[in-house]
């Protein structure tokens, strides 16, 4: 068979065309383009009516007022609530991720009883209730509550339950509110809840308070800052941050005053010294004693030595405070009542008590459950001190909205050992749930009734309540409701059967608590201030909190790992920040692997050399080093809460002086 040129061309062209007219090629290509966008494992989206439902998320320490976006009734996202003064449309990085947490595999699925080391058996709520009632009945008054709920009426329910059982061992987790309450309501004998009218101030000094990142009503503080610094216009007020390292707050403040971690109260007292030198005075029987204390221990030269702040900058700052028309000092460091007291003294010297743009004392919102402790009394008990001394040894310990095993400095891990029977009300499988004898799954904030009563730091009486946005997908319930049911089971009368009704009553009580506490006459808490001049002379730890990493009770949420910098966490290793001078003095350089140790506990970290840290200071992030939760946090970095050394001052435990050693590995 031959093939001439003609036949060859016919063969080639004909073959090609023949193939093209069959549908084989075209159909295949068409199908491919459809398949490649419709793989079975790619989730499809839900359709339906879209709504925005106002709610409260208490996943962050101060709680966010927000709106839950839903589609067909199913939440998918959160946005700030423009109509709520706490939010004004803003949102914190934890609550921005609140919805995905609704279906996090790390949620506690149902009540569980511990049957052995790390082993649990599911039980029904009824069984759990009966078991707990039995345990409580046997325990008599040897019952304690540890609460991490800084803002809610749930505290009253638990407190009333405790009172009915004959105990007053109500412990709050350490917080800025605790420090301020112990200082103001305790040491100084003042009334009402301290707050700061940051929005009304024209000169704000954040002394240690990381107020635009993690301290107090963060989102509301950030709003105040935003409004005082309108884009493209001259700032209406000046913000100054004083603290041991540059942090998120300082990055937007107009200036930064580096203050040694152990010198925060000395710094404030140094300001007080300057103010008094400038003729400021305050109405108190302790004033003369204050003067002599300042003269003997907190002269500018002494303060310079303690804080690293030069006489000149201190005097300049005092001058700015004096010249400002509405200055306010927001002081908090290491939960120290001394720092809080010193801050209050500076505000008083500036004449800023209960004034527009100053410090305010809000009237207490009265408890609605008769036997519940009032707010200041709730903050009186000292958990670290009682654990250390052995005074904390309850037969039954109820842990409500708290994760002390992770977030209580130094003594957290001992809680479950000291208590005979531990009950954890946990939304997530956290460290405390991992060791509790009974784990009761608390509903997610969007599945429960809850409220925010005067989140600490707000300048006006604030009350926000929220009802469930969505039905629980798991066998969970609100912890306060369970406490009410439990009381009923035990035949105790708390005055309410339903938490929703508690909230209604609370709303009325809040309505009655308006304005500020009219009169005040205070002591100055001088004993707490007289020993604030000690320094360890060693490397000092500055532990800072950033919400995107987590809090004392929340671990890193699913979408936050991408927001954590690679200079904060690298794989499983966290970074600590030190100045190049500190690095040199300790033979370290960027990327060195180090071991941090304090009070017998060690943490591994890598070195990030950062000129934004004072020499002699190790800045370490709180919020890493989880041993429970999920892969977004578990095993990443070290738990710096453990490195915080608790020191017992006269106002209560604090961890202002945290000597730490750093060794190359």
């Amino acid at each position: 068979m031959g093939l001439n040129r003609r036949a060859f061309i016919q063969f080639s062209v004909g073959g090609t065309l023949g193939l093209l007219v069959t549908p084989v090629i075209w159909k295949t290509l068409d199908d491919v383009s459809i398949w490649t966008q419709n793989w079975g494992w790619i989730p499809t989206l839900k359709k339906g009516v879209e709504e925005r439902v106002p709610a409260v998320s208490k996943l962050c320490p101060s709680g966010c007022a927000l709106r839950v976006e839903t589609v067909g009734g199913e939440p998918y996202s959160t946005t700030g609530d423009e109509d709520n003064p706490l939010s004004k449309g803003g949102l914190c990085p934890i609550c921005a991720d609140a919805v995905p947490l609704l279906y996090s595999p790390t949620r506690v699925q149902g009540p569980m009883v511990r049957t052995g080391e790390g082993q649990y058996q599911p039980v029904s709520w009824d069984e759990a209730k009966k078991l707990l009632a039995e345990k409580l009945g046997a325990a008599g008054s040897s019952v304690a509550v540890i609460s991490g709920d800084d803002t809610g009426s749930g505290n009253e329910v638990f407190s009333a339950l405790l009172a009915e059982l004959g105990s007053d061992d109500y412990y709050m987790m350490p917080s800025p509110q605790m420090a301020a309450t112990r200082a103001w309501n305790g040491l100084m004998g003042g009334e009402g809840q301290i707050g700061y009218d940051i929005a009304g101030s024209d000169f704000v000094l954040f002394a240690g308070a990381d107020a635009l990142s993690s301290w107090g009503p963060t989102v509301s503080n950030m709003n105040a800052f935003a409004e005082s610094h309108p884009a493209g216009e001259k700032a209406k007020s000046t913000y100054v941050y004083a603290g041991p390292a540059r942090n998120h707050t300082s990055s937007v403040c107009d200036s930064w005053v580096p203050v040694h971690p152990e010198g925060m109260s000395a710094f404030l007292l140094g300001l007080a010294y300057n103010l008094i030198t400038e003729g400021r005075y305050l109405e108190s029987g302790d004033f003369a004693a204050l003067r002599s204390l300042l003269a003997s221990k907190y002269s500018p030269a002494q303060v310079e030595k303690l804080t690293g702040v030069s006489k000149k900058s201190l005097a300049e700052l005092a001058g700015k405070l004096l010249r400002a028309s509405a200055p306010v000092v927001v002081a908090d460091y290491g939960c120290s009542p001394a720092v809080a007291a010193a801050g209050i003294i500076v505000n008083l010297l500036l004449g800023r008590m209960n004034t527009w743009g100053g410090m305010v004392a809000l009237p207490e919102v009265e408890p609605v459950l008769g036997s519940a402790l009032d707010r200041p009394t709730r903050f009186a008990k000292d958990l670290p001190a009682d654990v250390a001394s052995g005074a904390f040894a309850p037969k039954v310990c109820l842990i409500y909205d708290a994760n002390p095993v992770y977030g209580l400095p130094q003594y957290g891990e001992k809680i479950a050992e000291k208590a005979e029977f531990t009950v954890a009300f946990s939304t997530f499988k956290d460290e405390t749930a991992a060791v509790a004898d009974l784990v009761l799954p608390a509903a997610h904030p969007f599945e429960r009734y809850d409220d925010l009563v005067n989140p600490f730091g707000v300048a006006n009486t604030t009350y926000v309540a929220s009802s469930p946005v969505v039905k629980p997908s798991l066998d969970v319930m609100g912890a306060p409701q369970f406490a009410l049911d439990l009381a009923a089971e035990m035949g105790l009368d708390l005055g309410f059967e339903n938490f929703e009704e508690v909230l209604e009553a609370k709303a009325e009580a809040a309505e009655a608590a308006v304005g500020t506490v009219g009169s005040y006459s205070v002591g100055l808490g001088l004993p707490a201030l007289s020993d604030a001049d000690k320094t360890s002379g060693q490397l000092a730890l500055y532990a800072y909190s950033q919400l995107h990493i987590g809090s004392a009770s929340m671990a890193t949420t699913p979408h936050n790992p991408t927001t954590i910098r690679d200079t904060e966490l690298q794989g499983k290793q966290m970074f600590v920040r030190i100045n190049s001078e500190t690095a040199k003095a300790n033979g370290l350089k960027a990327g060195s692997k180090v071991r941090l140790s304090a009070n017998g506990v060690e943490c591994q970290a890598l070195v990030h050399v950062d000129e934004g840290v004072m020499p002699g200071v190790v800045a370490a992030p709180l919020g890493f080093g989880h041993t429970a939760w999920d892969e977004f946090s578990m095993g990443k970095g070290g738990n710096v809460y453990k490195l915080l050394t608790v020191s017992a001052g006269s106002g209560g435990s604090a961890w202002t002086g945290s000597a730490v050693t750093i060794a190359k590995m």
């Binding site: 068979m1 093939l3 001439n4 060859f8 290509l29 491919v32 383009s33 490649t36």
Partner: protein
């Protein structure tokens, strides 16, 4: 055992030795097949590429083999269009090498793109402004041309050729080969150029961007020239390696030296423009973008040594060695020059791909480094193994070297 299939009058190594060699190639190939299976199954997250280095080893490898494979179109152009008769002694090999390089590159590309099933979108939804569209067009078309050029060689296999139809088909294809060589030249010139243009148009990438210099983007011509300057000597190197491995003379040295001379001349021409281009880039393009020449380099792996190696040690030096007959006519010098020449072009393709992307453009960003991982090496080696396989089979069974019989008798 398979001696009946050998080309007319040729001897080949024993079947056992041959199997051993095939076994070695297969091992390499299988490792690569395993890697590519994981890549297709799990996604290219398996590789070490990332959002900064979206073009990496694979693209460098592709660009390098496409440049080195340029011997095919350029020799074809010289032989069929300019009628340089001498080249027919090596033309078959250039076609095979070209075919290996292009088909290999296309295999890598199907792995490299995130949605291989949509590879044909380049035809269906083309963006005529994109250099890459041109590359997709020309590479696929030219690969077809190379297949058409390769097929008659296969059909000329001794046993196959006995079939009358096949014989006639092969003959007809040969008759039309000049046409294909012409089409090939056209397509190949264009996509070599577009590959360069791809980088030259990167307005946000100071290392690669070229404008305002004669014609835009200038890298278009530089890539064409550098490809034709290295392709021919790459074929010479392959040929020489085959000679060393088989212990036979396959192409007379005169032809190799001629290839060297052609490459050398093209390299001189290329370097002339490349130096001008570099000068204009350093003194005009970079300052306008806010950069200095020194900022283009960092540490060891993105160091200036690469720059000098490319332009002097692997540029000027081999150019001189190739155009001066006294050097070119010494085999060891020709081969050294060829090696340097090819290395220079590989460096060029590497820096244009990787260094371009590594350079931080935002002032607050930093240099990132990239190192390929096993899956990228394995798949690249798979292509090398595939090339060896094609060469082995072609050498053993096809009449690749017309001079073989005469040179080894």
């Amino acid at each position: 055992m398979d001696s009946k299939l050998f080309p007319e009058g040729a001897t080949r190594c024993s079947f056992g030795q041959y199997l051993l060699w095939l076994g070695f190639i297969s091992a390499m190939l299988l490792w690569g097949v395993y890697a590519s299976f994981l890549i297709f199954y799990n996604g290219i997250g398996v590789t070490a590429m990332d959002n900064y280095f979206g073009f990496a080893l694979w693209i460098t490898f592709d660009l390098a083999v496409i440049a080195l494979g340029a011997g095919a179109f350029f020799s074809g152009f010289l032989k069929y269009i300019l009628k340089i008769k001498q080249l027919e002694k090596i033309i078959n090999l250039t076609v095979i090498v070209g075919f290996i390089c292009y088909s290999g590159a296309m295999l890598i590309l199907t792995m490299d793109i995130g949605q291989p099933g949509r590879a044909w979108f380049g035809y269906w939804h083309p963006n005529v402004h994109s250099m890459l569209t041109e590359v997709i067009f020309c590479i696929t078309c030219y690969c077809t041309v190379l297949i058409i050029e390769f097929v008659p060689l296969i059909l000329e296999q001794k046993q196959l050729n006995r079939n009358k139809f096949i014989h006639a088909l092969a003959h007809n294809m040969h008759v039309h080969m000049a046409l294909f060589a012409g089409i090939g030249t056209f397509l190949s010139t264009f996509h070599q150029g577009s590959l360069g243009g791809m980088y030259g148009v990167l307005i946000g990438r100071p290392y690669a961007y070229r404008d305002g210099f004669f014609i835009w983007p200038w890298t278009f011509f530089l890539f064409v020239l550098s490809a034709v300057a290295s392709g021919p000597v790459f074929t010479v190197l392959i040929c020489t390696i085959m000679e060393k491995v088989t212990g036979k003379k396959l192409v007379e040295y005169k032809v190799k030296a001629l290839m060297g001379k052609i490459a050398g001349s093209m390299l001189c021409l290329y370097l002339f423009f490349k130096y001008l281009d570099t000068w204009a880039w350093a003194t005009d393009v970079l300052p306008r973008m806010g950069f200095t020449f020194d900022q283009m380099f960092y540490g060891l792996i993105y160091g200036k040594w690469l720059f000098w190696s490319e332009l002097i040690v692997c540029g000027l030096v081999p150019a001189i060695m190739l155009i001066v007959p006294a050097f070119r006519n010494r085999p060891w010098m020709l081969y050294t020059a060829a090696l340097l020449n090819c290395t220079g072009i590989v460096i060029n393709r590497y820096v244009f791909t990787v260094q371009t992307l590594a350079l931080p453009v935002m002032p607050f960003d930093k240099w990132y480094t990239y190192a390929p991982n096993w899956s990228e090496y394995a798949t690249s080696l798979m292509i090398v193994a595939y090339g060896l396989l094609v060469l082995t089979l072609s050498y053993r069974y096809l009449p690749v070297f017309p001079q073989e019989r005469e040179l080894n008798s």
